[in-house]
Symmetry: C3
Subunit: 411 residues, 3 copies
């Protein structure tokens, strides 16, 4: 039912952007103010600013340029990611502040709330990776807004039902894990009858930036009042990343028929250790635990990349552009499992251990349920032809959306 010509974005994207942006400005005008109280949680502006900028680099540069390996889709990959990121961040600031608005009448913005909003955005950008190239920017923005909402509802449900308000780090990581796997897959299952393979080769600078700044990503929201916990988070993440880079290379060599390395493969799998340690952070106390988690995460991520991607395509007709499932999904589940095992080992008696296990499994189940529902609703909404989905043969092609100067060399 899609039109034969590449659908123009003007009549859909431009009004949507202008409408949403105007609505955001009006909401901000009535409900948002800059926090005048500078010292929050014992952190001064200067101490936190460098970490805020690191997160900014992760979200805009790291995730934005992660998909530049799609040869003919580089402009869209980076351009649309910026659009989605800024829309999602503005929306997440509003939703995260609803509780504060309820009690104090105003949503207060400070560096920490910007960072929390950018973490929600990161979760959205991770799951964008599965759908990139097969969607138009209108789809991406709607998915982003719905997914941010699901993410924050999930956090609120966990905090209300399970009282996990004492450890924002765990719940955050869980929510990164959940929506970034299940929402996009459900959406895809609703949307597509088949996937096609894009041409991939170019080097992606985003993955190097993600690798370098992942310790900040894992540690930025760790409470600084308990001395040493933030340092532990940084050291654990750094070592897990180091181990997973080495292991990913070794396993990739072993599983390749000619014993060669594959660049996109390596770029995806070097991050696995960081993701897994991020989810199990609050139970990791020794460097070797982080390293073992990194080792296992790299192995399952590498094997997942090699075998799972094709099976997903055949079995569920889900095509995963950026291999989000093997980079973030499997390592995230492994991190969840490690967290459970480590916590049980550290428990003093059986009652505590069982209580924690039940609690931990509930967290996962709630996250999965909310993600699946969000994905189902998003998928239903986007099936509507009103949004002008790209045709199958126009997928993964910048020419549908971008103007190229006629006498220029395509890069």
């Amino acid at each position: 039912m899609a039109p034969q010509y590449a659908p123009s974005l003007r009549s859909r994207l431009a009004p949507l952007l202008l409408f949403l942006q105007t609505a955001f400005i009006i909401i901000y005008a009535f409900f948002v103010e800059v926090d005048s109280n500078v010292k929050v949680d014992g952190e001064t502006f200067s101490n936190f600013y460098a970490e805020f900028q690191d997160v900014n680099v992760i979200v805009i540069l790291g995730f934005g340029f992660l998909c530049t390996f799609l040869v003919r889709y580089g402009f869209s990959g980076s351009g649309f990611n910026l659009l989605v990121a800024v829309m999602a961040t503005q929306w997440a600031i509003i939703l995260n502040g609803i509780e504060s608005w309820y009690y104090r009448g105003k949503i207060r913005v400070n560096l920490r709330s910007l960072v929390v909003a950018e973490m929600c955005t990161a979760s959205v950008l991770i799951s964008m990776g599965t759908m990139l190239g097969k969607t138009n920017p209108v789809h991406l923005i709607i998915i982003a807004l719905l997914e941010v909402s699901g993410f924050i509802v999930n956090e609120w449900v966990l905090q209300t039902l399970l009282k996990v308000n004492n450890c924002s780090c765990v719940s955050h990581s869980h929510q990164i894990l959940g929506p970034s796997i299940f929402t996009p897959y459900t959406t895809q299952c609703m949307l597509y009858s088949q996937g096609n393979s894009p041409v991939c080769c170019l080097y992606s600078p985003g993955s190097v930036f993600l690798w370098m700044f992942w310790p900040t990503f894992n540690s930025v929201l760790v409470d600084d009042r308990t001395p040493g916990r933030k340092l532990g988070a940084v050291c654990s993440t750094y070592l897990a990343l180091a181990v997973s880079a080495v292991t990913a290379a070794a396993i990739a060599l072993l599983s390749h028929p000619k014993g060669k390395l594959n660049l996109i493969h390596m770029q995806s799998c070097i991050l696995a250790g960081g993701v897994a340690v991020g989810v199990s952070m609050s139970a990791v106390h020794q460097p070797w635990e982080a390293m073992t988690i990194g080792f296992s995460a790299a192995i399952i991520s590498t094997i997942g990349f090699q075998y799972l991607k094709i099976h997903m395509l055949l079995a569920f007709q889900c095509h995963d552009t950026c291999a989000t499932l093997s980079t973030h999904g499997l390592p995230g589940l492994l991190g969840w499992l490690s967290h459970l095992l480590l916590q049980i080992r550290d428990s003093d008696d059986h009652t505590m251990a069982i209580r924690f296990a039940v609690f931990h499994i509930c967290t996962l189940l709630i996250t999965i349920t909310i993600s699946l529902s969000t994905g189902f609703v998003t998928g239903l909404l986007l099936k509507w032809n009103f949004w002008r989905p790209p045709q199958s043969k126009k997928c993964f092609d910048d020419q549908a959306f971008w103007e190229f100067p006629h006498n220029a060399v395509r890069k």
Copy 2:
């Protein structure tokens, strides 16, 4: 009168560089010392160091790699920018320290004075953008030194005549605004009888770095002693940048005949909000004010990019390589206007409001006058054929200045 062969730089550039560099070393030997008093303005070294590095990244990487979209001029764009940046920074440190030298006999260098010098350099690099490709590096260095001088004379005049010493932020932004528009245009009007269009396509990584680090650029010199002002500057800039990215995309779609996006267009216009908010910073108190400024700035910047560039070329024979007028000029003027309006709204009585308006208009007029004079003098000086201007057909070509290994693939 220009020679038929691409003019060699050896006989002009090398002596100029060696002479200036030796002169700088001699001046530094007699008049400059490292500031031994570490705690300046309540800031410790560690608190300020991360922001110093951010500014460094903005100046060297952000502005240096902004013009890499010129396909055949990438080597020159980044290489000459580095040369100009380091010469301008050394010169700005000397000029900024003249007052301190007058009272204490020595110019003291610390992190803050390096940052102030790099802000002057940033203003120079912005205006370089209008002339890049049509000038040789000798021209660029002379323009840089004269423009830094004009910038600092302007600051000194404003501080002496109008007593704006209490708010370095405003005057700084004004001076970034002024010289970066008027000096290069006057220079161009003096220099060129016609401009030619370069081939543009490549992606410019500089603009992404500028977007990410612009909050630092706007907040780094804001006084940290009033709590919350620096945080306000960061949040305002971040939100304005976010809004202007969204708005620029929407307006670009609406104004394009086929409803497509243009990468260079977007790269220029996503910064507009940050520039406008930077100029009106000290009067912006609420997030929605910053967002509205960002919204308007993106609209006029996008429309300016589409229509003004061609009219400038036809009417004044000025060719603007990097669209500096629409990226920095128009949003800067809008910021100046917003500052005026916001300040009038916040004034208690009419006398104050009128007094501020007169003062504010004087600031702009003085800045424009000094910029125009600097541009006129620079233009006169550079008309001299002694500097060997590049021929029209050799413009925007790396081959005039750079050696290419014979068996290498041009990128």
Copy 3:
């Protein structure tokens, strides 16, 4: 004796990586813990974190992407560098902690020990630059581990024999200087009968990042307790880098037959000032001293690049891929000499001056001796054909190690 086909890495590299990584995890499990004492040397976590990330960027991005100018070797240059960097850092953390393990039973990891380990890794990556393209990753990892060991033995010998424990900055720089020159050259002399020239043209983003973050690299380990010393280190390095960028351009223009610039040449030589000032840091007190050192360093580095590389190849059959000798070797020696001269000038009497000179010359001789022995041992070990050295005609080619998707455009 090498096989006619490109040697597969599977049977050598994968077992080596897995064996080493498992061994590291076991060592870490028994001997390494995260330092729970947060305030070390008066530095808090937040103050040091930004500098830690800068060093991380230098090591992974700066040195990792320094050799991307090799057109057909970009994948290997960046991929193997990451592998080598993470192996070397893990190994350096263990070796650096042996003393702490001896006295307290555990090696404590904190941000400072990560930074010290990354400085050792940087020294290894610098010397990799001489051998890149002519070695396979198995070679690189063995060289890295042996060189880290040599580096730390050297530091231990200097601290034990010469009691230089009070000034970690000097000894560190010396060790960066020493191994990065002599170890790789000795190794090369042992290994190769001839070198061949790779095709070079692409721009290397690594050098820009190194230039920007070199002030952090020189100042990060400077003791913050003496106020002003760290600021002095940053200002000196910044000015020296600025001067050497200008001087390198001028000298390159003068020495080129057609008066053109060469990009790779400039990329190498703009760093010379930073290297030289880094070695002589503790004796540099005034900005003009740093600038003069930067000026001289750029001159000898530029001339070395132009003439020395060819002579080294002819005389010693050593081929230096990244011009490490002229970028790091010659400026390092110049820095050593400047340190000696400045220290003698500052001495009160002759006895002190002579004592320092003897001490300083001993430091150099010990460093050279240890580097030569390490290089000799490494060379002997790597001559063994078991490691499957790449054939001469397969040098500088990614195809030996990396898979390219069949329908993709080579970049």
